[in-house]
């Protein structure tokens, strides 16, 4: 029970800070967790591959994180923002060439076999490093994993690897697979990628395509008295309006990842028995970014990029497009990453006069009809907010004499146009900050090595100074020095504007008040829900 009390206290202090917003996590004072019951949640996508060790993405984690666990999970109150899962302790060596993990005792796989350091070694070397979308980078220099005993795994690196990076990557990249089911098979095509087997609080029971995923209680889970729920049912609801109606009709009890559109939140928050929660996504910050094609003559000019930054009213974007459920961005690292965040970088305030002056200085005078030049604007179609911001950006740029022609594509076409063909001038993108700038943020500005890679620098930007900082940070073991490098990185990006950060947001969870222990960690939607319970 102590664990619960601690998390309640944190919830309380955190909620005090949130009082101003509409989002108040429900506190369960004086109530003991009820055992049993089925929690029904909305799912909007059915991932092709459900294996989180191969596909480290939120859509996959949303379901698989209850079945397959990482070595550690993000936490509001744990040391370095982590809570132990399959590992109970971790330590990096001073030279950065090894990292030692002490594993949890008495853990068994859902098929009854014991969990050991062999599973961790196998997952790291055969899956995370060669196959996983994020692990390919984080574990690039992993050479071997020693397993002196069943509860110890020592990672050996060929080059110094900052433990800070490994630690920050633990929640997203270290889902452990059962070696006995994968060893010697074609891992990418293993049937266990669909019929998951893990160590988590819930077992994968059934998947009916187009209808639902059903997870059920793991009776032999290592967490004492956990999980509380008997079953979690993910109901596939492809229609944007469906989740809100389903919550109101009590056919589902929870919708995460803003499955209820922002525009509906105000109305639904007034419905009895429903609450809107903006907490629980601190570890999954999405950034609204204007991507710039530096091959375009006008945009290669820093003054033009600065002018565009000055032409955007971030406050308007946050208030009108995100309806307040976002923050204006100050730079490439979001405020939700206090370990790295640097508030002192140059800012580009909303200032139309300055934008006009900069464009004049750059030599792009207005023609007779008031326009200076025309750009192709491609908003990413992944979120309502990215397309809406595209429409706003067109208007904002028109004010300063830039005619931005919007081309709206679907996901596949947008991906090809921007990341393979580079057939754009400016694009709107929603990259994710994943706890450490090295994981998925640096590639937004580092000189590109290949085409066709989504959420990476495909704007042809190349700045040797920034590349050097990024590469140094990858092998700088000392945490202070590494953090300092990332401060320089933020400064350099803000000065040279390879891209323009506009806003940063987390998602919204809407839940019936009968669901408890919601949003009690920074990656809640993609964590294991072992302590979540519902009124009987």
């Amino acid at each position: 029970m102590t664990k619960f009390l601690v998390s309640r206290r944190t919830l309380l202090s955190a909620s005090a800070a949130l009082l101003a917003s509409t989002a108040l996590p429900r506190l369960a004072f004086g109530q003991d967790a009820v055992k049993g019951g089925r929690l029904i949640v909305a799912a909007d996508s059915e991932p092709r591959n459900l294996n989180p060790a191969i596909v480290a993405s939120n859509g996959v984690f949303f379901i698989s994180s209850k079945v397959i666990e990482p070595l550690a999970e993000a936490s509001f109150d744990g040391e370095n923002g982590l809570a132990p899962r399959l590992a109970t302790a971790w330590e990096g060596s001073a030279d950065g060439l090894s990292a030692t993990f002490t594993l949890r005792e008495g853990v068994t796989w859902h098929d009854g076999k014991p969990f050991t350091s062999d599973d961790v070694a196998f997952s790291a070397l055969q899956v995370w490093k060669p196959l996983q979308n994020l692990g390919r980078l984080v574990f690039a220099n992993l050479e071997s994993v020693d397993t002196p005993d069943p509860l110890t795994a020592i990672f050996r690196f060929s080059k110094p690897t900052p433990f800070q990076l490994i630690r920050n990557a633990l929640p997203a990249t270290t889902s452990v697979l059962p070696k006995h089911l994968y060893d010697g098979t074609d891992i990418a095509a293993n049937p266990a990628n669909a019929q998951l087997v893990g160590t988590g609080p819930f077992k994968f029971t059934e998947y009916k395509p187009g209808e639902y995923y059903l997870l059920s209680r793991n009776e032999t889970y290592w967490g004492e008295g956990e999980p509380n729920l008997d079953e979690i049912l993910y109901r596939v609801l492809p229609d944007r309006a469906a989740a809100a109606s389903a919550l109101e009709a009590e056919e589902i009890q929870l919708a995460a990842f803003s499955a209820v559109p922002l525009a509906d939140l105000d109305r639904i928050s007034k419905v009895d028995g429903i609450e809107v929660i903006s907490k629980g996504y601190e570890g999954l910050t999405y950034q609204l970014v204007v991507e710039i094609n530096h091959r375009t003559e006008q945009l290669a000019n820093l003054k033009v990029r600065q002018a565009i930054a000055h032409a955007i009213d971030k406050k308007f974007v946050v208030d009108t497009i995100f309806l307040g459920y976002a923050k204006p961005a100050t730079g490439i690292v979001p405020q939700n990453a206090p370990e790295f965040y640097d508030a002192s970088v140059p800012q580009y305030d909303f200032d139309v006069d300055k934008a006009n002056a900069l464009l004049d200085e750059a030599g792009y005078a207005r023609s007779a009809d008031g326009t200076r030049f025309t750009l192709r604007l491609l908003p990413a179609p992944y979120f309502n907010e990215t397309t809406q911001f595209g429409a706003y950006l067109r208007q904002a740029l028109a004010v300063v004499g830039i005619d931005a022609q919007i081309a709206n594509n679907d996901s596949a076409a947008h991906q090809q146009a921007v990341y393979t063909d580079h057939a754009f001038d400016i694009a709107v993108a929603p990259p994710v900050f994943r706890g450490d700038p090295a994981i998925s943020t640096a590639i937004l500005v580092r000189t590109a090595t290949a085409e066709g890679v989504p959420f990476s620098n495909q704007g042809g930007y190349s700045n040797p100074a920034i590349d050097k900082i990024i590469d140094d940070a990858l092998v700088t073991v000392d945490e202070k020095a590494r953090t300092e490098l990332y401060n320089q990185f933020q400064q350099a990006v803000a000065e040279d504007l390879p891209l323009i950060n506009v806003a940063e947001w987390g998602f919204i969870t809407v839940a019936r008040t009968s669901v408890h222990n919601v949003s009690n960690n920074p990656r809640w939607a993609v964590s294991n829900w072992a302590d979540t319970w519902i009124d009987g």
Partner: protein
């Protein structure tokens, strides 16, 4: 019956080129759309690196030229091999056959309902053209016809599922409920009321207006005058002489509708979260899963061809003139 048999065989042979044109057309349409299955997958999985992109393209056969892929696909189709869906990572035939019953149930019920009620109301309206009830029915049905199906679906949901809570909100049955037999049938029936209602209400107008127009036409015919002169009751004239003769265009419409209903169900299947073919087709397009989309289209095309065949046979049976001219042609 021999006449009908010949018709069936001739139609089946005639449908092969149609299928081929549909297939090749679909393939190139989707090929023209920019972005491929790997692009769509990368977006949904949150990215990767260049090596992953290359491996995926090779694994999924997307590194070959479009012509090679089309040729390979057609060759496989001839051998009744629909291939493997890269989007769902499952055999396409399994997926399609799994979804087909849901769509058939939804579509079949909606067509039957709109045809049945539409033609009955059409008879009511057409039995006294120009009367108050005729006007009321015509205007009412037109208004329904003008309503977009997704909107009607959402309104029905808000009223009957969210506010009144009489009917389930979405899905084809209660999920993982363990229901079986009659309980399950009742459960599915309750789930189908709203989606079928939404589809049927919209298409009802077509049948109603067609029936009414046909009847107005028939009323002017000499044989109706003769029937009247014989002193037949109005009821008998309406049912035996007028309505029966006005029914033929509706049968034609029924055949045409079976095709449009497959498309129309994309919207209703999404709004009501019914795992059917329409939704699958939409997912196949956005995931650029060409083989899956082609599989769906082949199966749908076969369905449409078979339905039209049945319609033609029924037509031939109802109206001897049609069958005779077709068979002797």
């Amino acid at each position: 019956m021999q006449r009908a048999g010949e018709l069936v065989i001739r139609r089946l042979i005639g449908s092969i080129p149609v299928l081929l044109i549909v297939l090749v057309g679909t393939f190139f349409l989707l090929e023209l759309a920019s972005g491929d299955a790997v692009d769509a997958y990368l977006v949904s999985s949150g990215g990767g690196d260049a090596a992953l992109v290359e491996t995926l393209r090779a694994d999924w056969g997307l590194d070959q030229s479009p012509i090679t892929r089309l040729g390979l696909y057609l060759w496989n189709i001839i051998h009744l091999d629909f291939g493997h869906s890269v989007l769902l990572n499952r055999p396409i035939l399994d997926v399609v056959l799994e979804r087909l019953p849901n769509t058939l149930l939804l579509m079949g019920s909606a067509i039957a309902l709109s045809f049945g009620i539409g033609s009955l109301l059409g008879i009511v309206a057409g039995s006294r053209p120009g009367s108050a009830r005729d006007r009321l029915l015509s205007i009412g049905s037109l208004a329904l016809y003008a309503v977009p199906s997704f909107w009607l679906g959402l309104v029905l949901v808000v009223v009957f599922s969210v506010q009144l809570r009489w009917l389930p909100l979405s899905g084809i049955e209660t999920l993982a409920s363990g229901k079986a037999g009659l309980h399950r049938a009742w459960d599915i029936f309750r789930h189908l009321v709203l989606p079928v209602g939404a589809l049927a209400l919209i298409y009802l107008a077509l049948y109603l207006r067609l029936m009414r127009a046909g009847m107005v036409e028939v009323w002017r015919q000499d044989f109706v005058l003769a029937a009247r002169a014989k002193g037949l009751s109005r009821r008998r004239i309406v049912w035996r002489h007028v309505a029966r003769n006005a029914l033929l265009p509706l049968i034609t419409m029924l055949g045409l509708q079976s095709a449009t209903m497959l498309g129309g169900s994309v919207v209703i299947e999404s709004v009501f979260s019914i795992p059917g073919l329409g939704r699958l087709a939409q997912e196949a397009v956005s995931g650029r899963d060409t083989p899956l989309l082609m599989g769906i289209i082949v199966i749908s095309a076969v369905l449409v061809i078979v339905t039209n065949l049945i319609v033609d046979v029924v037509y031939a049976l109802l109206d001897p003139r049609v069958g005779a001219s077709e068979a002797s042609a």
